[in-house]
């Protein structure tokens, strides 16, 4: 029998987890380091390089890309081409690592961390259904991952446009590709990674074990798939939207299955 989701209980678990994570330097620092390097450090370096050096010849690189992407860039002044190519397009697929990594770190903490801290049994004795508990743990990792991605992206827009201003003399970010990646694809990738990591976390005894399992076996597999599809991302905006829809479908299927199969009994057996 399917009952309505108890959103009050779900929100309470999310509040507890997010409050606790915010106070945990061991979780927060690695979670913010990669976005800081990618979204703040990289555009600054590229902006400085572009401003300080002469025109970079990226024509041969652009010739290897789909014409609908290459032509508008080739029509720009030569000094701007490299900046727009790198900051506007090439980094976008790499950005997908961020929601994946943040959600993985938080998901590892979701169940395995609770087991490690011996707080999981308290949770299991509370009136929250298996499905709602799974959903709460999923959202406890998903929402911060999306928040970090979006806030990071907002920072990237400011820093990217500012650092490229001496070359561009206009705001050129976000591109449509970036917008689609951030709003549509990156949440899907986070949900996809969580579909795997939450289950790994439920089976692992410690968050370290969950991280190792997720980090050494499962996430590289996911990253490989992302890397393969990232070439496609550059082809066309519609391709990005379609890939996003596919990733969302798989992520939803994985998580619906995960929620259905999630059982207190399995978790309690390993306490």
């Amino acid at each position: 029998m399917s009952t309505a989701i108890d959103w009050g209980a779900v929100r309470a678990v999310i509040w507890k987890d997010v409050t606790a994570v915010k106070r945990s330097k061991a979780v927060v620092l690695p979670m913010l380091l990669l976005p800081a390097v990618m979204l703040l450090g990289l555009p600054i370096v590229i902006g400085i390089l572009a401003a300080g050096s002469g025109p970079m010849n990226v024509e041969s690189l652009l010739n290897g890309l789909p014409s609908n992407l290459a032509e508008p860039i080739l029509s720009l002044p030569e000094r701007q081409q490299a900046v727009v190519l790198v900051l506007g397009y090439l980094i976008a697929p790499l950005f997908l690592i961020i929601p994946l990594m943040v959600s993985a770190v938080l998901a590892a903490d979701a169940f395995a961390g609770e087991k490690e801290r011996r707080t999981i049994e308290t949770l299991l004795h509370l009136p929250i259904s298996n499905r709602d508990l799974y959903l709460a743990k999923l959202l406890s990792a998903f929402l911060p991952a999306v928040a970090v991605s979006w806030i990071g992206f907002a920072c990237y827009l400011v820093v990217g446009n500012a650092s490229a201003w001496p070359v561009m003399h206009r705001l050129f970010l976000p591109t449509w590709l970036w917008t689609a990646v951030i709003l549509w694809l990156s949440p899907a990738v986070a949900a996809f990674g969580l579909g795997i990591m939450v289950r790994v976390s439920a089976r692992a005894r410690t968050s370290q074990e969950a991280n190792q399992l997720g980090g050494t076996v499962i996430l590289p597999l996911v990253l490989a798939i992302v890397a393969q599809t990232s070439v496609l991302l550059l082809a066309d905006l519609w391709v990005t939207l379609v890939i996003g829809a596919i990733v969302w479908s798989v992520a939803i299927a994985l998580n619906v299955r995960g929620a259905r199969r999630f059982a207190r009994d399995t978790l309690a057996t390993k306490l």
């Binding site: 009050g8 707080t119 999981i120 207190r264």
Partner: protein, 340 residues
Amino acid sequence: MADVAIRTDGLTRTFGTQVALSELSIEVPHGEVLALLGPNGAGKTTTVRLLNAVLDPHAGTMRVLGIDPVAEPDELRRHTGVLTEHAGLDDRLTATENLLAVARIRGMAIEPARRRIGELLERFGMSARADQRVAGASTGQRKRIALARSLLHDPQVLFLDEPTSGLDPAAIRDVVAMIDALAAEHGRTVILCTHFLGEADELADRMAILHRGRLEAFGRPADLATELWTGIPATLELGGIDPMAAADLVRSLRGVLEVAVDGAALTLEITERDVLAHAVRELVLAGADVFAARPETRTLSDVYFEVERRRAASETEAGPPRPPAPPPPPVRSPETRAQP
């Protein structure tokens, strides 16, 4: 039966090949304290987890407050409170935040929950730590915060796993008084898992002794004592008479089952209390000074150790345990046996 808070029938749970609980059949009336006793690995925690729908049974049935934990687990957990063996508090949150999270999961509105949390933390002497992170709290402080958490919603059934471990003597006294009041005054049913027999003796209306998942004995301590021993223990403190002669005199009286000499005192096993009065009269007539004559009550501890002693003896007789053998029926008090 309306007055039964907890009823299990043939409740069984295994983990792989290991039987954690085997055919547990007990009944606990509303407002009573049941002490679940036994060594580590006896199945106490498994029983609590089964009764609160955290684990699924592999055989048997159960009802808690008339609710089937398998069919309506969340409905059941709304009416139960649990103190787990480890306090289970998140070190990164304050005491109030830990309790507030649980209150919100239980559907309590924030402001009433805050008031209730304040009251409970004060009751357990934890007000000063209310807004401090749990990370710096001692084991006893954690236990008290966790106890407050288990009482947030005023549960009808309370499962307490080692509630006083790690507490100082004053806190133990307070917690024992609190549990007693919950059952006696507020009609709450308490399942108390403990290794401290003195605490169980003070609180428990009934006791269940588990060993390797098997129920060895269940019932009221006094009733179980009647089952285990034929007589009532008594002590006579004497003077002015040779203890051996006194023992011979007392042994000859009707209703005296056993006599042992312990210095100047005699320890007796008698069929009823009147026998002791008769013995005192005969000893006085024989010229003895009787300084004290006490019929003793068998305590829960006496029952526990006797059951354990008999089990160990029967295991020694039977040789190494054979796992697949079906368990023999447990020792039960007459009242328990009479129930369906």
